[in-house]
């Protein structure tokens, strides 16, 4: 005899209106369950529908993992890994594609001895509107190939134009997730991931939105135009404001401000 069966003869049905797990359920319970279980099923399904239906729009970022994308241009590493190439359709005649490694450790990327070279880089394209990024494997031979010919100095050292100082309110994002690897790649639920990505060398971006919904994504550097130091990490993904200099480097807009210029709002 086991607990599963109990000590009653199930065929006797002597439990009255009391439910006992190892005996047949009384009629009154069966009737109740026939009504309550479908109702609970419908209720939880409806809740699932309601919760999923009201999720925020995560934006239009894309992570095109099904195809390999190649970019030929000039490789540079300051302030972050990137390739610039001539594009007559682009606003300033050139386009910049940021380079990041697979995962969250771009600082481990093998490439520094190839800086200011003409190269072809191959990887997975990440794109949010006009902002492009190439995700590549960590070892240089897996993604980088030299290209013969002279290096275009306009691409190696493009014009730097100051657009003035401004106090802006926005959010510090890790560019990789925000450009499309994660949707949504923002908000508090993404704060830890964004912090980890930036700690791993992925360029931080300052995401600013105007009241009419237009957005501007600016590559963040310190006031001298060098990579942001790690002390920015606690402010990542939170609403912040900062006064800094807006600079155009080729087609890329940079927001230059030291960490001390940022304030959580």
């Amino acid at each position: 005899m086991s607990l599963a069966e109990g000590i009653l003869d199930p065929s006797k049905k002597t439990t009255g209106d009391m439910f006992i797990g190892w005996a047949p359920a009384p009629k009154v319970d069966r009737r109740f369950l026939l009504g309550a279980l479908p109702l609970a099923f419908a209720g939880t399904s409806g809740a699932s529908w309601l919760i999923a239906k009201n999720l925020d729009d995560p934006g239009a970022g894309a992570w095109l993992t099904n195809t390999t994308h190649s970019v030929t241009g000039v490789l540079t590493h300051h302030p972050y890994p990137m390739i610039r190439f001539a594009d007559t359709n682009a606003p300033f005649g050139l386009r910049t594609v940021l380079i990041v490694a697979i995962g969250k450790c771009t600082s481990a990327l093998e490439w520094r001895d190839r800086a200011a070279e003409a190269v072809t880089a191959s990887g997975v394209l990440i794109q949010r509107k006009d902002h492009q990024m190439l995700e590549v494997p960590p070892f240089a031979q897996e993604w980088l190939a030299s290209v013969d010919g002279p290096v275009d100095t306009a691409l190696a050292a493009p014009t730097i134009e100051s657009l003035g100082s401004a106090r802006l309110a926005g959010t510090i994002m890790d560019s990789k997730c925000f450009f499309g690897v994660m949707r949504p790649g923002r908000g508090k639920t993404h704060k830890a991931c964004a912090s980890l990505c930036i700690r791993g060398g992925i360029p931080p971006s300052f995401w600013v939105r105007s009241r009419d919904g237009r957005e501007q994504i600016m590559l963040m550097t310190d006031a001298a135009g060098d990579p942001m130091p790690k002390d920015i990490l606690p402010l990542v993904a939170d609403p912040v404001e900062a006064e800094g200099e807006i600079v155009r480097v080729g087609d890329l807009i940079q927001f230059r401000a030291d960490t001390s210029a940022y304030r959580r709002i």
Binding site: T15, F19, A25, P58, G103, K104, K188
Partner: protein, 355 residues
Amino acid sequence: MGHQYQAVQWNKNKIAYDLYVVTAIIVFIGIFIFIGLQIRPNGHSADLVILLIRALGVTAFTMLTIILLIGPLARISPRFLPMLYNRRHLGVITFMVSGAHFGLALIWYHGGGPLNPFVSLFVSNPLYDSIPGFPFEVLGLGAFVVLFVMAATSHDFWLNNLSAPVWKALHMLVYPAYVLLVFHIVLGALMTEKSIVYPIMTAATFITVSSLHLFTGLKEWGADSAMKSLKAKGWIDVGAPTSIPNMRAVIASLPKGDRVAVFRYDDKISAVTNACRHQNGPLGEGRVIDGCITCPWHGWQYRPDDGVSPPPFTEKIATYNVKIENDRVFVDPKPNPPGTRTTPAIISQSGAPAS
């Protein structure tokens, strides 16, 4: 009820219960992901992994909410007892779903970086001194650890080896875990998503769980208070013999806070502790079936006069001496050792004690 331990002692009701739960989970997650992908087409939908993480999290919270509702609902109406019967399976499945949510979130948000994912979980958001900025992840981890401990000790093996009071106290940690989960949601998803639907739903579930527990708690407190006023000469007056429904019990509160279940079966009255040896289930809410007091939670049975489970089982519960004087039933508040045979009080035809 003594028996050899098995991983799960399946029966038809348990199989039906688990099938229903698993089907509901699949449908819940399926709807969530389908709607999540469809609601914003043209590349604006959340990605599949994040939808799955969210769906698993919402499912686990919904399941835990239902688990916590079953207890008070079963106290309000015995119609909910079938849902209580296999609640432990529901708890273990909830742990599995929350484990999938935790594992996937850990890999997706904390994996592949310069830090160990478990270190990242604690340090990637360092705002421990801020309420709105507080790292909600550690709250979820705290709740997950409790669910793990509960799932790991859910088997009757642990119930017997830890003793019922320790096991019960351990499993009462579900309440702090639920509060941790509410704050995990409030300081995480609710700080990220803009829709008003989420705070409303979270508040509604929390208020429902709290108020149902409060309602049933106050009801029991009221019953205990009423019983305390009936004390006389050290013995507890539980009322007229005929006020106890046949084959059922009234529950009396003892001076030290214990409860005693006083059963009437035909012309006899016996009293035993109200706490089932199995999971402290309320024996007084059960009934006498085939001559045995039967616990409403899982059907464990005891003979009314000696508190011993019928052969081949060997469990024993404390008994209490009873007497009838002046058409009133009195219970000696001093418990007898578990398994002690007592003489049932006999109700005469007139309602007076039989000589």
